[in-house]
Every structure is written in C-alpha cells, then in structure tokens.
C-alpha cells in the first residue's frame, strides 16, 4: 500500500515538469498564471500522497495551506492584471 502511495506521489509530482514547459514558453502573463495554477494543484496532490506514504498526518496541513493559498494568489494576480499592473 505504501509503495502504491509512493508511485502515485511521484507520478503526480512529475507532471509539474510538463506544466513548467508552458511556464517557460508562455507568451503572455496569463498563460504563466494558468501553468502555475496547475503546477500548484499537482504539488498539492503529490504532497497528500507523500503524507500517506510517510504515514505522518501532520504533513496534510501543508496541503491545505498550499491549495488555498495558491488559488488566493491566482485571484490576487488576476486582480493586478485587471488593473493593468502587469
């Protein structure tokens, strides 16, 4: 069971690399925000499955913080983008 969790955690984390391709290429700032959003979601999933792999429930709080604050950041940057600051 723990081996399965480890495999899932590694698989979900390795998708961040593909999202980073769009982060490097993206012609506008909006593309980069979309790629960053996806990367944060994949990082959250990898974090949750790593917590299940390591059998420490204390790691799960970091996942909640990461999920909520990454979307808060997206809202803040959309706000800045709308006001023409970027």
């Amino acid at each position: 069971m723990t081996a399965l969790y480890a495999v899932v955690a590694i698989a979900e984390t390795s998708l961040i690399a593909l999202a980073m391709v769009r982060l490097a290429l993206g012609p506008t700032v909006s593309d980069r925000i979309v790629a960053l959003n996806t990367a944060a979601a994949q990082a959250t999933l990898g974090l949750l499955f790593f917590a299940a792999f390591a059998d420490r429930s204390i790691y799960l709080d970091v996942g909640i913080w990461l999920a909520s604050f990454s979307y808060l950041g997206t809202l803040i940057w959309a706000r800045l983008l709308e006001r023409g600051l970027l």
């Binding site: 390591a54 059998d55 420490r56 429930s57 204390i58 790691y59």
Partner: protein
C-alpha cells in the same frame, strides 16, 4: 545520497550569483538574491535531515515507531529547521527593503538600469 542535496544547493547559489553578476536590471538582480536565499534554505534543511528520519513532531508517530524511538534520534534536527524558518522570514523582509530601494531609485533616476545609477560614482 544527501550529498546530491548539497550539490543542488551549490548549483542554486551559482545560478543566483550568475544573475547578480551579469544582469543590469535592478529587479532581476533582486530576483537573483532571492534565488541565493533559496539555496541557503535547501542547504539548512538538507543538513537537518538524518538517515531515515521524519518530522520532529511527536503527535501520531508513523507506523512501527513509538515516541521514544523518535526522541532517540529518529527525527530531523529541529535547531537547523528553526534557523531555516528565521532565514525565510528575514529573507522576505530583506527582499521588501531591496525592492523599496529599487522603487526609490526608479523614482529618482527614471531608470532601473544599474549603469544609469550614477549617484555612487565618485
């Protein structure tokens, strides 16, 4: 095995130093300083890690381990992790100070090219 983390911290420091040495844009230079700070975080956390260790938190220990086995060397070093926490907080404060200095330079010289800032030449 953990040596790879030290090498990665060194590589991160070199990347930040490259940005600081070669770029002329002042905001890019502050970004290089942030990357160098990230290298110190990686170094401190990697030094705190011990073989087979887990987080220094004693509530709900992982399966197969008890609290006494955790207290006898089964956790990462909390002192270095606290150093890292202090480094993170000081890093964001220092970055804020640098950025406010850059904004003042931009208001005064109407440019953020490091070559145009002539106030510190003799």
């Amino acid at each position: 095995m953990i040596v790879v983390n030290y090498l990665a911290a060194g590589a991160l420091f070199c990347i930040g130093l490259y940005v600081v040495l070669t770029r002329r844009n002042l905001i890019k230079l502050v970004m290089g300083l942030s990357v160098m700070e990230a290298s110190t975080y990686v170094l401190l956390i990697s030094m705190a890690y011990r073989r087979g260790s887990t987080a220094p938190v004693f509530v709900s220990p992982p399966a197969g381990r008890s609290v006494t086995s955790l207290t006898h060397g089964g956790v990462a070093d909390p002192v270095l992790q606290n150093f890292c926490l202090t480094a993170i907080v000081i890093g964001v404060a220092a970055t804020a100070v640098f950025l406010s200095v850059v904004v003042r330079i931009a208001q005064h010289y109407r440019s953020i090219d490091a070559d145009d800032v002539r106030g510190m030449r003799g």
